[in-house]
């Protein structure tokens, strides 16, 4: 009987290396996961450029405008056209003013679809200029290949 019992003990494998590996994997994926991608929009595929680098510090008071391929503008949860965008921008500016800042302190981040007509982007910029916004950032994807 005693001999049998020892055999059962032998069959129990040593879990330590497996748990080590699993923890390593978890740590790897946790470090690499990028929750900042939540500002992306499904309607937008950014154009690529090999010149841009990710910003070292996040922009202050960002207003993120997604411009879809059909020219619709997505801000927050709503979508606008170039004509109605002013309503959405005024809402954002009210928040900025409530924090004691001027529209000039805000940064308008434009995430335009690569195939959208450039005129739509220009019109978005014009509407933002009319709302006294002056700092624009055209968001593009970093191209590491060529």
């Amino acid at each position: 009987m005693r001999v049998k019992r020892e055999q059962v003990d032998m069959a129990e494998g040593d879990m330590t290396p497996m748990i080590d590996m699993t923890f390593q994997l978890i740590a790897f994926f946790m470090v690499l996961i990028n929750f900042a991608q939540t500002e992306a929009n499904d309607n937008v595929v950014l154009p690529k450029s090999r010149l841009v680098k990710p910003p070292e510090a996040p922009l202050e008071f960002p207003i993120i405008l997604h411009v879809g391929a059909d020219g619709r503008v997505y801000l927050g949860g709503d979508d606008y056209t170039a004509e109605t965008l002013k309503i959405g921008l005024d809402r954002e500016l009210a928040v900025i003013r409530a924090e004691g800042k001027a529209p000039e302190d805000a940064n308008v981040v434009i995430r335009g679809h690569e195939f959208v007509a450039a005129g739509h982007v220009q019109e978005v910029i014009r509407v933002a200029q009319d709302a006294k916004l002056t700092n624009f950032a055209l968001r593009v994807k970093e191209n590491l290949r060529d």
Binding site: L25, I26, L51, G119, Q129, F136, R139, K141
Partner: protein
């Protein structure tokens, strides 16, 4: 004595099953949500409403104007920098960069302060696909040399939209 020892050893063995369950759940969560993404960056443009730009105009400033023409379906039909035609293929952007480099080299080599320097106005047809505008902005704003970005023109503005 012998029996007691064995009992102690059995008691000290932890039950790992629940921990491993949770660890695997976490692992699966992170593996599923993991997505290799290319990083994003910005081209910064400071563009106040026309007429508000600060008064002093430097006469040595180069008046650079880039005209982008579009075909009906939004592709690039032609590109002109100050009336110099650059073509409409992918190599046109390299030519554009070389033209800008040449123009900057021939102008006064004064130390450029931050936010100063030549300005370029991009005048594009309404229909042109946005990626061509970004390509031309990449071409005029700098180039990469041995991994370092060399800046050319930092002040970029758009002309009025054509509709």
């Amino acid at each position: 004595m012998k029996i007691r020892n064995r009992r102690d050893a059995e008691k000290n063995e932890l039950n790992m099953t629940s921990m491993i369950d949770i660890v695997f759940l976490l692992l699966i969560f992170f593996v599923m949500t993991f997505k290799i993404v290319e990083l994003e960056g910005d081209f910064s443009i400071k563009m106040p409403l026309a007429g508000q730009s600060s008064g002093v105009v430097d006469p040595t400033d180069l008046p650079l104007k880039l005209r982008l023409r579009s075909t009906a379906d939004g592709n690039l039909a032609g590109m002109e920098l100050n009336e110099i035609s650059l073509g409409n293929d992918q190599a046109a952007f390299a030519r554009l960069r070389n033209e800008v480099k040449g123009m900057l080299a021939s102008s006064t080599p004064v130390a450029v302060e931050e936010g100063e320097g030549p300005e370029i106005e991009i005048d594009t047809d309404f229909n042109l696909q946005y990626k061509y505008v970004i390509d031309s902005i990449s071409a005029v704003s700098g180039f990469k040399e041995a991994g370092q970005v060399v800046k050319l023109i930092e002040k970029i503005k758009f002309a009025k939209p054509r509709r």
